[in-house]
C-alpha cells in the first residue's frame, strides 16, 4: 500500500517536472535572445532600429522598418487567402458531404501539413513566380507569391481546427433551425458558424502564427529585397527571412542586430498571440 502511494507521488513529480521543462525551454530561449540582442538595442536605440528604412549592415545602417511592414503584409495576405478557403472547406466537409467522404478527404488535407516547407518554396519558385511574372508583371518573386504559398501552407491548420469546431456544434441547433424553416445555407450561415465561431477563430489564429513564423518557403519566393512594398508585386524581406539569410555570415554588431531582429519578432508574436487569445476569451464570455 505504501509503495503504491510512493509510486503515485513519484509519477506526479515526474509529470510536473516534464510539464515545466517546456516552459523552462521557452524561458531559456527568451533569455538567450534578449542577452544577445539587448546590448545592440541599447547601443543603437529601439526607435532608430524599428523606424529606420535602411538596412546596410556593412556600412553600419540597421533599420528594420521595411521588414516589419513586409512581415505584416505577408501574414495579412496569407490570411486573406488561407482563411476564407479554409473555412469554406471546413463548412463543405462538415455540412454538405456525407460522413464517410469527409473521413477520407480530411486526412488527405492534413497531409498538406506534412509537406516540408522547402517543397512549397520550390513549387513557388518554379511554378508560381514565373506565372506571376508573365501575367501580372514585376520580378515574380514577390509579396503576392509569398502570400499565396503561405495561404496554402496554413490551410490544413485552419481546416482541421474549424471542422472540429463545427462538428462540436450540437445537432439540435441545426434541427431547430431547419424546423423554423431556414434553408440549409441559412442554417450554416446563421446558426452553425455563429456557434462554432470561437473555435474557427482560434484555428485562424494558429494559422496566422504559422504564417508569420515561416522562414524557408518565404526566403525562396519573396525575393528578399529590403524595401517597403509599394504593390503586391514588389519583392519583400520578412523579419524571419532577414535572420536566416544573414546569420551564416554575420559577426560583431551585425550578428547582434540579427538577434535584436529576433527580439522584435518575438515581441510581435507575443503581442499577436495575446491579442488573439483575449479576443477568443471575450467571444466565449459573450455567449
Amino acid at each position: 500500500m505504501k509503495s503504491h502511494n510512493l509510486r503515485e507521488k513519484g509519477v506526479q513529480y515526474l509529470l510536473t517536472a516534464l510539464a515545466f521543462s517546456a516552459l523552462f525551454g521557452l524561458l531559456l530561449i527568451a533569455l538567450f535572445i534578449l542577452k544577445e540582442g539587448l546590448p545592440f538595442l541599447t547601443q543603437v536605440g529601439l526607435k532608430d532600429f524599428i523606424f529606420a528604412h535602411d538596412w546596410e549592415p556593412q556600412s553600419g545602417k540597421f533599420g528594420i522598418y521595411p521588414m516589419i511592414i513586409a512581415s505584416l503584409w505577408v501574414t495579412f495576405g496569407a490570411m486573406l487567402i488561407g482563411a476564407p478557403l479554409g473555412i469554406a472547406c471546413a463548412v463543405f466537409l462538415t455540412e454538405f458531404v456525407p460522413r464517410p467522404v469527409m473521413h477520407t478527404i480530411k486526412p488527405m488535407i492534413e497531409l498538406l501539413a506534412g509537406i516540408p516547407s522547402v517543397i512549397y518554396g520550390f513549387i513557388g519558385v518554379i511554378v508560381l513566380a514565373p506565372l506571376i511574372r508573365t501575367h501580372l508583371g514585376g520580378p515574380g518573386l514577390s509579396l503576392l507569391a509569398a502570400s499565396i504559398i503561405l495561404g496554402i501552407m496554413i490551410l490544413p491548420t485552419i481546416i482541421s481546427i474549424s471542422t472540429d469546431a463545427i462538428n462540436a456544434v450540437p445537432n439540435s441547433y441545426r434541427e431547430g433551425s431547419r424546423a423554423l424553416g431556414a434553408t440549409r445555407w441559412q442554417t450554416v450561415y446563421m446558426v452553425v458558424l455563429k456557434a462554432a465561431r470561437s473555435g474557427i477563430i482560434s484555428g485562424v489564429i494558429l494559422g496566422m502564427g504559422r504564417a508569420i513564423g515561416e522562414t524557408m518557403a518565404v526566403i525562396m519566393v519573396a525575393g528578399n529585397a529590403v524595401k517597403v512594398p509599394g504593390t503586391a508585386l514588389d519583392s519583400v524581406r520578412t523579419l524571419t527571412a532577414n535572420i536566416a539569410l544573414e546569420m551564416g555570415y554575420a559577426v560583431g554588431l551585425h550578428r547582434s542586430a540579427l538577434f535584436a531582429t529576433g527580439v522584435v519578432l518575438f515581441i510581435f508574436i507575443m503581442l499577436l498571440n495575446t491579442l488573439a487569445s483575449a479576443f477568443v476569451k471575450q467571444e466565449i464570455r459573450r455567449r
Binding site: Q58, V125, P139, G140, N224, A225, K227, G248, Y249
Partner: protein
C-alpha cells in the same frame, strides 16, 4: 527488446570511448563557403597520403574564417576577399586559388557586353530598363547575394562605389542566383564562374570574357583571390597541408573542380 537496447548502448559507449582515445593532431579549417567544398576534397586527398593528420573543414563565410583564425579556434582560415580587412593584417595570408565572378543574364537577352560603368549603374539602380542598353524592353531584375557574402563584398569592391539598389532581389547562394536568373528573362546577377552552365549566359566585361586564361592573367577584372590565413608559427601538419594545396596535385584538383589555380 530491452536486452537489444542494452547491448546497443554498451557497444555505442565503447565506440565513443575508442573514438576519443584515438587522439590525432587535428587541424580546423574554417571560413569561405565558396572554397569549402574544395578544401574538403583537398583534405580528403591529403589525409589518404598522410594518415596521421586529421583535418576538419567548416564553412561559415570569410568573416568567420578571419575571426576564428584570429581567436585560434581554427588553425587555417579561408577568405575569398579582394582585400583583407585591417584586423586580418596580423595573419599570414597565402593565395591558393583564384575565382572569377561571372555576370550572368538570361540566354534570351540580347546584351553580350557590359562596361564596368554600366554594371555599376545597373546594380545601383540608375539604369532600370534593358531598352536603355539596346536590349529588349523590360525592367531589369537585379539579383544579388546577401550582405556579408564574400562574393558580394568582392563584387562591390571591384566594381567600386556601388550602393546596391533597394529593388534588388537577394538570394543566399550561387545556386539560387543561377536558378533565379535562368527563370527570369530580365534578370542580371553574378556568381562564381565555376557554376556557369547553359541555362544562363555570361556577359563579357569591357570586352573580356570570363575564362580561366583571362582570370589567371588578370585581364578579366572581376576576379578575386582565395586566401588561406594562419596566425603565428605554423604547425608541421598545417604547413604540409598548405604545401599540398600549392603542389601540382593540389592545384590540379582545384582546376578540375572549377577554380583557377595560382600556379
Amino acid at each position: 527488446m530491452r536486452r537489444a537496447f542494452a547491448v546497443f548502448a554498451v557497444v555505442l559507449f565503447f565506440v565513443l570511448i575508442a573514438a576519443c582515445g584515438n587522439r590525432r593532431s587535428s587541424i580546423t579549417v574554417a571560413g569561405s563557403t565558396a572554397f569549402q567544398p574544395f578544401a574538403e576534397k583537398l583534405a580528403d586527398q591529403f589525409m589518404t597520403n598522410r594518415p596521421t593528420a586529421n583535418i576538419i573543414v567548416q564553412g561559415g563565410g570569410s568573416a568567420v574564417g578571419i575571426q576564428s583564425t584570429l581567436s585560434g579556434t581554427a588553425q587555417i582560415g579561408m577568405a575569398d576577399l579582394v582585400s583583407l580587412p585591417e584586423e586580418a593584417k596580423v595573419l599570414q595570408a597565402t593565395e591558393v586559388a583564384r575565382d572569377g565572378i561571372a555576370v550572368v543574364v538570361h540566354p534570351s537577352n540580347r546584351i553580350n557586353d557590359l562596361t564596368m560603368d554600366l554594371l555599376r549603374r545597373i546594380f545601383n539602380g540608375s539604369i532600370r530598363n534593358w531598352r536603355d542598353l539596346g536590349g529588349n524592353d523590360g525592367v531589369i531584375t537585379v539579383v544579388s547575394r546577401e550582405a556579408g557574402s564574400g562574393t558580394r563584398i568582392s563584387f562591390e569592391q571591384i566594381v567600386g562605389e556601388l550602393v546596391l539598389t533597394k529593388e534588388a532581389i537577394v538570394q543566399d547562394s550561387n545556386g539560387t542566383i543561377r536558378e533565379t536568373v535562368a527563370n527570369d528573362p530580365n534578370a542580371i546577377g553574378y556568381l562564381s564562374h565555376g557554376l556557369l552552365n547553359e541555362k544562363i549566359k555570361a556577359v563579357t566585361i569591357d570586352g573580356v570574357a570570363c575564362t580561366n586564361e583571362a582570370i589567371q592573367s588578370n585581364q578579366y577584372a572581376l576576379a578575386r583571390p582565395i586566401f588561406l590565413l594562419t596566425r603565428g608559427e605554423r604547425l608541421p601538419d598545417t604547413q604540409a597541408f598548405i604545401d599540398y594545396i600549392l603542389s601540382a596535385e593540389g592545384q590540379q584538383t582545384i582546376q578540375s573542380s572549377g577554380l583557377i589555380p595560382v600556379k
